[in-house]
């Protein structure tokens, strides 16, 4: 009859402000966020200040920010997209995983380099 302990008080979806999708291009969870020089307006929310404060020393990925803010990635994406849209953050697509290099491409490059001589 009694529910499980520790029902959370503040849900993460509050960040979305009632929107169903982020107001901009979707950010990957490994996208890198960087702070720009733009000052936050005085009316900015605490969570926006916290996110910008996190990024002041340097760049972090979305998932790292989410962990610091104790929010799910999906909610952090809303927050970050807003700040990117308002010009307070920059987002860089994730660094792609290093893959197998196309061997033929390397060979052709080698041919090209040799032919320079």
């Amino acid at each position: 009859m009694t529910p499980g302990p520790g029902r959370r008080l503040i849900p993460a979806y509050l960040v979305t402000g009632g929107r169903s999708t982020p107001s901009g291009p979707a950010l990957d969870r490994l996208a890198v966020l960087l702070r720009t020089d733009a000052e936050l307006p005085p009316g900015a929310g605490t969570e926006q200040r916290r996110l910008c404060g996190l990024l002041d020393p340097g760049a972090l990925t979305v998932v790292e920010c989410a962990a610091h803010l104790e929010l799910p990635v999906s909610a952090t994406v809303f927050l970050a997209t807003d700040l990117v849209a308002s010009g307070h953050l920059r987002a860089r697509p994730p660094i792609p995983r290093a893959g197998e290099i196309d061997r033929s491409l390397v060979e052709r490059l080698l041919v090209g380099l040799r032919s320079l001589h």
Binding site: T16, T36, T46
Partner: protein, 496 residues
């Protein structure tokens, strides 16, 4: 002699006859009078019986049904005796007693049925509540596993359903169904906000002097429920384009106050009177009195008010709609332990109106709302009067507004120290602070560029331009020295 005797006898007989005739006449008269009387009495009795029958008919057909109706519709008239003169006092009293007895019986029965309905709903809602709580746990796990924003939406729907169920349970005299620890007042307000459709319109302004002001464990969830109902009313009865400002402030008598304003349609006098009666915390609220569809909001708040000792008052708001004031008495307040960090989303205690910065900004904040009734004005006085263990937090948060700094920088300062506290001990943080400090000293062009944010992000066009420059340089140099090499260079260019 004889004739005398005969004459005497005749006279005697005549007299006797006369007397008898007279007597007979008198008797006949009396008899007819008695008969008339009896007749009249019989007719009167018949009339009384008829009147009584009519009254009983009135009782059965009009008075008792009307009395029953009047129990649920207070304005409905209850007719009395048809002809008060037609029945004796005793009968009239007994008839009225019958109405009263019927009324009592109906009330008893209604209470019993209502209690049965409440018990049934209490059981059901407790079950649903626990299921919804379980799905909330699952949804929260999903949120951390998957990045689909639809999980957030699902969580919101779940929370809405949970609020409804919880409110129903509270209305049916159930325990709020959740034990919490001492919880920050601002977090409770946000929690209540999150349970309401249209929560994005609710703007919470935190005017607390003591940032870590919290509710004692047993009152935390009840306050969240009550506040959620007030917020639901405010959002439901105001235009979707308007905001619902919520002000959290400390009151003069060591209590706290949450104000919910809306710019909605307001309430008429009847509704206001009814709402105030419900908010006063009556000992029993019948489901049958809540209307169809039931208006549960104020009734739920009233139940919680009666049980936990808040008080709630509503009045016309300076914003145009209604203002609900929820007062939390001092004995339900405490200060949170220092090792608990506040949620990221909790608004920092800054003045609600950034255009009124500087000294005592927290004090002018609520006053700037007013138009607020003058009873609220002294609420923002008496600083630091809260709890004995609250000295340090008051000192740290209290300095910001009083130093007269720009609210924006003040807010940054107050959140600034919070960041490392919240983040660093718990999580491995990959910060670039140290490396970046040395990086410019390393002196390579690439690293210096990295510190400036602007060139760090190389757009495809920039990359293209720099490579094009390199290529042109190579081409021009090559064309000057060895023109034969150019075809192979083109080949390489195509492939990259």
């Amino acid at each position: 002699m004889l004739p005398w005797i005969v004459a005497l006898a005749a006279v005697g007989t005549a007299i006797w006859h006369a007397v008898r005739a007279y007597q007979a006449g008198r008797d006949a008269y009396a008899a007819s009078a008695r008969a008339e009387l009896a007749d009249r009495q019989a007719r009167a009795a018949e009339a009384r019986t008829l009147a009584l029958t009519e009254e009983i008919r009135q009782l059965a057909e009009k008075r008792i049904p009307a009395a029953a109706t009047a129990l649920s519709h207070r304005a409905a008239p209850v007719p009395g005796l048809r002809e008060a003169a037609g029945v004796e006092g005793d009968a009239a009293r007994l008839l009225t007693d019958a109405v009263q007895a019927a009324r009592t019986a109906i009330l008893e029965e209604r209470r019993r049925v209502d209690a049965a309905a409440r018990a049934a709903m209490r059981g059901t809602s407790a079950k649903i509540q626990s299921l919804l709580n379980q799905s909330q746990h699952l949804l929260q796990e999903l949120q951390h596993e998957y990045d689909d924003p639809r999980v957030l939406q699902l969580d919101f729907r779940n929370e809405l359903a949970l609020r409804r169920t919880q409110a129903t349970a509270v209305l049916c005299d159930a325990w709020p169904g959740l034990a919490r620890q001492n919880s920050s007042l601002v977090e409770i307000v946000l929690g209540a906000q999150s349970r309401v459709g249209g929560y994005e319109r609710i703007k919470v302004a935190n005017h607390l002097r003591q940032e870590r002001l919290a509710l004692v464990a047993r009152a935390a969830e009840p306050l969240a429920i009550a506040l959620a109902e007030l917020l639901a009313n405010a959002t439901a009865y105001s235009h979707p384009d308007t905001e619902v400002p919520v002000t959290v402030q400390q009151a003069a008598g060591r209590g706290a106050l949450v104000l919910v304003d809306d710019a909605g349609i307001g309430m008429d006098d009847d509704a206001l009177k009814r709402a105030r009666a419900l908010l006063a915390g009556p000992s029993e609220v019948l489901l049958t009195e809540l209307g169809d569809p039931p208006q549960t909001g104020f009734a739920v708040v009233g139940r919680l008010v009666a049980r936990y000792g808040f008080s709630c008052h509503i009045e016309p708001s300076p914003y145009g709609g209604m203002r609900a004031m929820l007062r939390i008495p001092a004995h339900l307040l405490t200060v949170m332990d220092d090792d608990r960090t506040l949620s990221v989303l909790a608004p920092a205690p800054v003045p609600a109106h950034p255009d009124a910065p500087g000294g005592g900004a927290t004090d002018t904040g609520p006053a700037a709302d007013s138009a607020a009734p003058d009873s609220l004005a002294p609420d923002s006085l008496a600083p630091g009067s809260l709890a004995p263990g609250s000295a340090e937090p008051v000192a740290t948060t209290g300095t910001d507004p009083t130093t007269g700094t720009d609210p924006a920088t003040a807010a940054r300062d107050s959140t600034g120290p919070g960041v490392p506290e919240a983040g660093t001990p718990a999580l491995p943080s990959r910060r670039r602070r140290a490396r970046r400090a040395t990086a410019p000293d390393g002196g390579t062009a690439a690293r210096t560029r990295e510190t400036g944010v602007e060139p760090d992000l190389r757009t495809p066009e920039q990359a293209g331009a720099s490579w094009a420059a390199l290529q042109q340089g190579t081409l021009s140099g090559r064309s000057a020295s060895a023109p034969s090499a150019s075809p192979s260079d083109d080949q390489g260019d195509d492939e990259t």
